[in-house]
Symmetry: C2
């Protein structure tokens, strides 16, 4: 297991900078008053393909040798990694094959296809996903870019925290959603060197709280098919992300689906940005644990903005 | 009639800078490909009270003498000017009275009250609005800050175009929605001096096209109670804004309510910002008149983001 380093993150930043956006940081007096904290929201939903995952994907795609690149890339993903890898592959002009649960939101499938990604559907469970992927990869020979358990991906995601610290001039804590742990791991990688006094806090849906239980138990616990509205956070930790979680994460907080929807609507209303339920988990946990955040400078990563606008969770109980 | 000058705009910028945000400029490869133009969106919906009108309101409020300020301010508005004037008055700690149509969106009324504004409701027509306002102003003695036909307000709105040109490094044209004409007038004021080669184009709902008809006829035509989904654009031109429209505007384009909703959803999906129907009229007119914009650097002002999230126009035909 190769653990990516701070220098890998710096190299990733140089590699991906021409292909990604330096996303803006937003704040809201209303949300600051509501929480008693000074909240800074890093809008990774404003990346062209709509999620931070373009950072890790671009780092993997643009790091391939020409010979590797000709065979393209392949992955499995609940959505945003698939879109972002397809997007990065399109920018380099190479093929991209993705295995995706048939239950993934239509908006995410549409985005993958718009960027030229070829989708093979699987059942919405980790086991089906991995079995289907093995077949696809054998058939295509594409370089496997895991959605998070890949040092290239983690180093790429770490570039976000570097920008975030530069843009805000320092933070007491950074809160990001945790699914497989790619963004959290990249954040730990960067901040443990750049700002070791800044706490890294993970936010997870109660209904897919395997990372929380892993953190408390001291070893990886994986669920096969959790169900939550935060559809970007269904996957379990793997060895590489577990390394960063157990070494550098200060705390993992959880929130219910109802609390996630409440936080999502607050962000749409007061920050006026369109983001997906997974990205609302950090604010939901801040609202639920006010004492942990009051008076602090808190960075929140809005991880993605690919949501089905025809099915908003606060309208007619969809 | 005092016509505000470029120097008034510069003074306004110095006055309001501590109280407003320099809003980011967003773009989308998808929307650029769709239109064949290079589109730059200035996100005035990201102002704390959710609209560009905080610029003109803050210029008026912070320009008052202490003696005037004690009596507060008063206005009539279909919504965003009311919120923004209340917000600016709250920042200075002075009273704000607003007359508002009873049909204005609940979200806009809530925002006014959150900022301490006192609402008196009127019928949704220009005549009822003006009659009700006369009574309120007599009772309170507040300084009348007209939503657009006020040199202080126009000078304040003009600060947006100044930032926009600095942020983009130059534009071939700027497209903004037109209701009463405050933003368009401020844009004309600034660009006629700062970038006289940049065209100013107004975008108007077909169902409230009084500015378009005025522009073609050569004199102000006012409708009493137009109805369109673009609820921020219901009011007519007045002498001061008509001066700028007839002198500096290159063209006025119109779009139907259905076209406005289509453009609104495209912006939510691809720019991932929450904005109100009025702010979608510029993109609707760009999509409708592609030949006028293809190959150009086009600035679009997203004027406001106060929308009722429970009643989105593309869901169940609300």
């Amino acid at each position: 297991m190769y653990i990516p380093t701070y220098e890998d993150m710096l190299a990733a930043h140089d590699r991906v900078r021409p292909h990604i956006r330096q996303t803006p940081v937003r704040s809201s007096d209303f949300l600051n008053e509501l929480t008693g904290a000074q909240l800074f929201f890093k809008c990774e939903n404003f990346q062209e393909p709509g999620a931070f995952k373009v950072r890790g994907a671009a780092n993997a795609v643009f790091g391939l040798s020409d010979e590797q690149a000709r065979r393209g890339v392949a992955t499995h993903s609940s959505g945003n990694h698939a879109s972002c890898l397809s997007y990065a592959a399109m920018l380099r002009g190479i093929p991209c094959n993705v295995v995706m649960p048939r239950t993934a939101p239509q908006a995410k499938k549409d985005t993958v296809r718009r960027y030229g990604g070829v989708i093979t559907e699987c059942e919405p469970s980790t086991s089906s996903r991995e079995a289907t992927f093995a077949k696809v990869q054998e058939a295509t020979g594409g370089d496997f870019v895991h959605p998070y358990n890949d040092p290239r991906v983690i180093a790429g995601q770490g570039t976000c925290a570097r920008e975030f610290m530069e843009q805000t001039g320092g933070l007491d804590m950074v809160v990001a959603p945790i699914g497989g742990g790619g963004m959290i791991s990249g954040t730990c990688l960067t901040l443990s060197r750049l700002a070791p006094e800044t706490q890294v806090i993970a936010a997870e849906p109660e209904q897919a709280d395997d990372a929380y239980r892993s953190f408390k138990a001291g070893h990886i616990i994986a669920d096969d098919a959790p169900k939550t509205i935060a559809d970007g956070l269904l996957v379990p930790l793997k060895d590489l992300t577990w390394h960063f979680v157990k070494t550098h994460v200060s705390e993992i907080y959880t929130a219910s689906d109802a609390e996630i929807v409440t936080a999502m609507k607050l962000i749409w209303k007061h920050l006026r940005v369109v983001m997906e339920p997974s990205s609302a988990v950090p604010l939901a946990t801040v609202l639920k644990n006010p004492g942990a955040f009051r008076g602090k400078r808190v960075g929140i990563i809005i991880t993605g903005g690919n949501v089905d606008l025809d099915k908003l969770p606060w309208i007619q109980g969809v």
